[in-house]
Amino acid sequence: MRRFGRQCRGQGHVFVKLVRETETQLLTLGQHVGSLALSAQLVLQNAARFSTRQHTRLATQLTAAIEAHQLIEHQSRRLTHGKTLSACKIVNPYDRTIAPICKGKSNCPTQFGRKPGIIAEPASGFIFAAHLPVGNPGDNSYVLPLVDKVQQAITQVTHRPPLALHSLAGDLAFNDTALREALHARGILTVGIPHTVEPITSSPTQEEVGRILRDAGLHRQRTPYQVHLACACGYSRPVIESIIASLLCRGVDRVRYKGHRGAILQMGMTVMAHNAATLVRIEQHRLSKRAQKLRRLLCLRSRNSHQYNGSKN
């Protein structure tokens, strides 16, 4: 089972009933696990025919099984008594990093898996960093680790003038006062993160630019030109969906490797493959009109197509 819930989650009482029934069944099934495990441990201790290695392996497996059952039992009792869970619901006792992923859809079953976050350039789609936390934390917890990774990459570049992160765009899930303050403290504009569902203006007036800089407290760090570019990027934020679609086509829609480390590995390799394809597109000028314009404004160059590119291996 990779999903739970029914096709329409609108009527909550039906869902609660279903959960309680399932959890009761789980409790009934697992009530003998504790006693059986204890007797198995006794048998294992007295068994002389196993080698030390086999003995250790079996004991570890048995302990893992007992711990897994205890976790399930704890959450099942809370749910059957109508109490809320302190953390995410455990969907796989042997891989507790998996969590239910609710993405705000009201008419589909809840997926469970992982929720990676990416930080990318909206013009070309190049992904600078990816972050994959354990479980399903809030979206605003992704931002600072991702920004840290980008700044780490910037430190490796020997570019003059030095590169810097000027602005960050995101959806309404990133609208958090503490996060905005943290980003402003790093000199990053948050004009691309909306406060409401109203669309962001693509070309702000001079008064609006002044107000944005005043609110962020970045008068001396950021110029009005940079605010204009930040608004243009924030306005075109939905382009990230096409970047995500490109990753999904490369197989990130389903984690095939085992555990949290495996998920990070799959995600990382896919991001690198996607980035290489993006760089090929940039070199061949296969970009949208908007992306080309944005690249001109950012003074980004493309490689000369007449330049000799010998084998780089």
């Binding site: 929720k115 190049f126 600078f128 780490q152 765009a169 690198m272 940039i282 590119n309």
Partner: protein, 199 residues
């Protein structure tokens, strides 16, 4: 040529020598894709990480398959949406895949069934940890910024769900396990069986 020496005997065996570059045109998508990676830096990072975490206990034995080949295969696997078996099979037959893996010339040997076994690729993958993966992405981003192709000035951030899939049980892994089990059982049987001869 260094990679050829590191690869197994099939690439240095007898037969006509093929220049891989001659068979893969510059406009080939896979060649263009492979040329964007800063291979030297990536391979050095992987080797450094492996040397720290898995130091070699002895210098004896055959040289391993080159890191460049295995890293490229892992990336190609995600680019071409292949399984381990499929990408290892393509390395044997597809010259563009050979180019992407950094193999510049090969000796043809028709009796050879494979260049890299899927198990070797899985073993390489199991050694890559989270820190190394982050380092590789950072290096690729830094190289692109250094070349002036991308800018970190205005970025956009988002999350998306990724469903947990089942572990794929492939034929190669099943066969490998079966062989291992068979050899273990036959060894046990031979040690337990009574010896004939002296009476």
């Amino acid at each position: 040529m260094r990679i050829v020496r590191h690869l197994q005997h099939w690439l240095t065996g007898r037969g006509p020598r093929l220049q891989v570059v001659d068979f893969v045109p510059e406009t080939h998508p896979l060649r263009q894709w492979a040329d964007t990676f800063p291979w030297a830096a990536l391979v050095a990072a992987v080797d450094r990480s492996f040397a720290q975490r898995f130091p070699l206990k002895t210098a004896r034995g055959r040289a391993p398959v080159a890191t460049r080949v295995l890293l490229a295969l892992e990336l190609l696997k995600h680019e071409l949406s292949c399984s381990d078996e499929q990408i290892c099979s393509r390395l044997r037959t597809d010259l563009a895949v050979m180019y992407a893996c950094g193999i510049t010339e090969i000796h043809v040997d028709r009796t050879q069934g494979h260049f890299v076994l899927p198990e070797v690729l899985a073993q390489f993958r199991s050694r890559i940890d989270e820190r190394l993966m982050e380092e590789l992405i950072t290096m690729q981003a830094a190289a692109a910024m250094e070349a002036g192709l991308v800018s970190p000035a205005h970025l956009v951030v988002d999350t998306f769900p990724s469903e947990q899939g089942s572990q794929r049980v492939n034929d190669a892994a099943t066969l490998y396990k079966a062989k291992k089990k068979f050899s273990r059982s036959s060894r046990t049987f031979s040690t337990r069986a009574p010896r004939k001869g002296k009476s």
